[in-house]
């Protein structure tokens, strides 16, 4: 079933410090949307605003198929089908991987969800009995994605999934994420600084700069315009 996550006129602040200004975003199930931007551009704040992080004051609206998520607590947003994988990727280290997955399973989710998740993120299959604190960074990232998928979400928000991972692991992760929209019929939002990762993965890309969305389009268009990339995504003198 087609379903759409819509962000309309979203502004966000941490106390008095403004972090996002009038953002519009539309994510459909089955598609992957990339968010690019330098550190502090507002990518993480946008994802946190969608999942109603209580630290953030938000104006504007976030809705799924017209149903507003604005007044809901974070756990209710999750139960409505928005899964968030935060940037620090910490899993619950004192639980086993199996327990990490188990607590995320929502009521009513098909009993074969675990098997579907393990097929989509095969690295996790061999880790089920291990404690969270025993895992490497790449393994933890795989588990956090698997855990998010256990709730059979309609939308998956990934914040800096490649942060601190080796190129080989990033490649495997990219292959796994690429399959998710099709396997689970979900919409994926990837917030990243890794330009190549996002442009390879996404169907459409939005570029954020100091809390504003400064460019939107296809990854092909972005890749073909080095000036644009230089202006909004490079660091150093321009």
């Amino acid at each position: 079933m087609t379903s759409t996550l819509t962000v309309t006129g979203l502004s966000a602040s941490y106390g008095l410090a403004s972090a996002l200004k009038s953002i519009d975003l539309r994510v459909e199930k089955g598609r992957c949307v990339g968010l690019l931007g330098r550190n502090g551009a507002g990518k993480t704040t946008l994802l946190k605003s969608i999942v109603a992080d209580p630290e953030i004051t938000v104006r504007g609206d976030v809705a799924i198929d017209g149903r507003s998520l604005r007044k809901l607590a974070t756990y209710k947003v999750a139960r409505l089908g928005v899964a968030w994988v935060p940037d620090t990727r910490r899993i619950f280290t004192r639980l086993t991987v199996a327990e990490n997955l188990d607590i995320a399973r929502r009521r009513g989710v098909a009993s074969d969800q675990l098997e579907r998740v393990l097929e989509a993120v095969p690295l996790v299959r061999g880790l089920l009995k291990r404690a969270g604190y025993e895992l490497s960074g790449g393994e933890q990232q795989a588990v956090t994605i698997a855990r998010a998928l256990m709730s059979a979400p309609d939308f998956l928000l990934l914040d800096e999934p490649t942060e601190g991972l080796s190129p080989l692991i990033v490649e495997q992760l990219q292959a796994s994420i690429a399959r998710l929209p099709e396997i689970f019929d979900l919409g994926v939002v990837v917030a990243e600084q890794n330009f190549r990762f996002v442009t390879d993965l996404a169907d459409e890309v939005h570029v954020l700069e100091t809390g504003e969305m400064v460019w939107s389009g296809t990854p092909e268009l972005l890749v073909s315009d080095p000036d644009l990339v230089d202006r909004h995504l490079s660091v150093g003198e321009k």
């Binding site: 999750a78 899964a83 935060p86 086993t96 327990e99 074969d112 098997e115 404690a131 690429a178």
Partner: protein, 344 residues
């Protein structure tokens, strides 16, 4: 829908691993662990001189009380400085309801309900508070409950309430010390078994998740406030049940059972054994009781000696006695069996 990167080979379908879906169905720890606990202590009870019997009976009741605190500190990461209030409420509920015609178990159930209701009210009052703020609320409420025992006439003031009978359980008389021990240890083993089952369930894992990171727990759909309230209620109910056993054991209840000092002692018991292991608080309570009465009880400097021991434990073994065993098990693999499975 488009996926731009080659998806790679689809893995052949394999059956879902039992590690996740069936793990708890066959986990027999809730059965054998309380049984070992009860048998070992019962051997001690019947083998040791009779002067130790009182100490063991109180110690095992405190074990249950300290475990109820472990539900908050160890499982959930919720702190309380007024836990004795629930213990005292349970004890006073049993004292107020005292009658010989009722089954002794009925008092335990009613006391647990009274303490659970109090916990729900306090939990709702402090719904927005976390960590130290919530602990301060529990301390204030605990102190109010303590002071009320002096102000409310039917609670007996300074003298407390006396004349609480042990009665019988389904016709089985539990008035003698030995029969009361059997009644107590069976009740506590059953309750500990139930708590262990909860500890190993998805609910228990969810409590651990909100302890470790409440924001991430909420992000995967766990209702953090609701789970905290549930844990607080469960903890209060178990403390109330322990209070009822305490009242039945001694036949008297005094305001000390709700005091701030006693709340502090419960925390020390749990720390002594190890807060983050299921059995840590229970073992800590037994050690605390043995040290404070059987070992140092007759010494004028007993409290000082006990204080020094506790200081050493906190400084050298911050994870308590079971934490120490864990460290030893790393050196001596034969001890490794003691640390299987998830911590509290």
């Amino acid at each position: 829908m488009t996926t731009k990167t080659a998806p790679g080979t689809v893995l052949p379908r394999r059956p879902a691993p039992k590690a996740l879906v069936g793990r708890r169905a066959w986990d027999v720890r809730p059965l054998y662990e309380p049984a070992i606990f009860a048998v070992v202590l019962s051997i001690g009870y019947f083998v040791l001189p009779s002067s130790w019997q009182y100490t063991l009976t109180i110690g095992v009741i405190y074990s249950l009380l300290a475990t109820s605190l472990g539900i908050l500190f160890g499982w959930t990461g919720t702190y309380t400085f007024g836990h004795a209030a629930f213990f005292g409420m349970g004890a006073y509920a049993t004292a107020l309801l005292r009658t010989e015609s009722w089954n002794a178990l009925l008092f335990l159930g009613l006391s647990a309900v009274v303490a659970a209701i109090a916990a729900v009210v306090i939990g709702l009052l402090g719904g927005r508070l976390v960590k130290v703020e919530f602990a301060m609320l529990t301390m204030i409420v605990g102190q109010i409950a303590y002071l009320l025992t002096f102000k409310i006439g039917p609670l007996g003031g300074d003298n407390g309430l006396v004349g609480i009978t042990r009665g019988s359980v389904f016709g089985f008389d539990v008035t003698s010390n030995n029969s009361f021990w059997i009644y107590t240890i069976v009740v506590i083993a059953v309750v500990m078994g139930i708590l262990r089952r909860i500890n190993l369930s998805s609910f228990g894992a969810s409590l651990n998740a909100i302890r470790d990171d409440p924001v991430k727990a909420a992000s995967i759909g766990l209702p953090v406030k609701g789970l905290r309230l549930a844990a607080f209620t469960l903890s209060g109910a178990v403390a109330g049940l322990a209070g009822a056993l305490f009242a039945q054991q001694g036949g008297i209840v005094t305001p000390d059972t709700l005091s701030f000092t006693f709340s502090g002692q419960i925390i020390i018991m749990a720390l002594l054994g190890g807060m983050y292991r299921f059995w840590g608080p229970a073992i800590g309570a037994l050690i605390f009781q043995l040290l404070s009465t059987a070992v140092f009880g007759n010494s004028s400097n007993g409290t000082l000696y006990l204080g020094v021991i506790l200081l050493v434990v906190v400084l050298v073994f911050p994870k308590g006695v079971l934490g120490l065993l864990e460290r030893l098990s790393n050196r001596f693999p034969v001890l490794g069996r003691l640390r299987r499975g998830r911590k509290a």
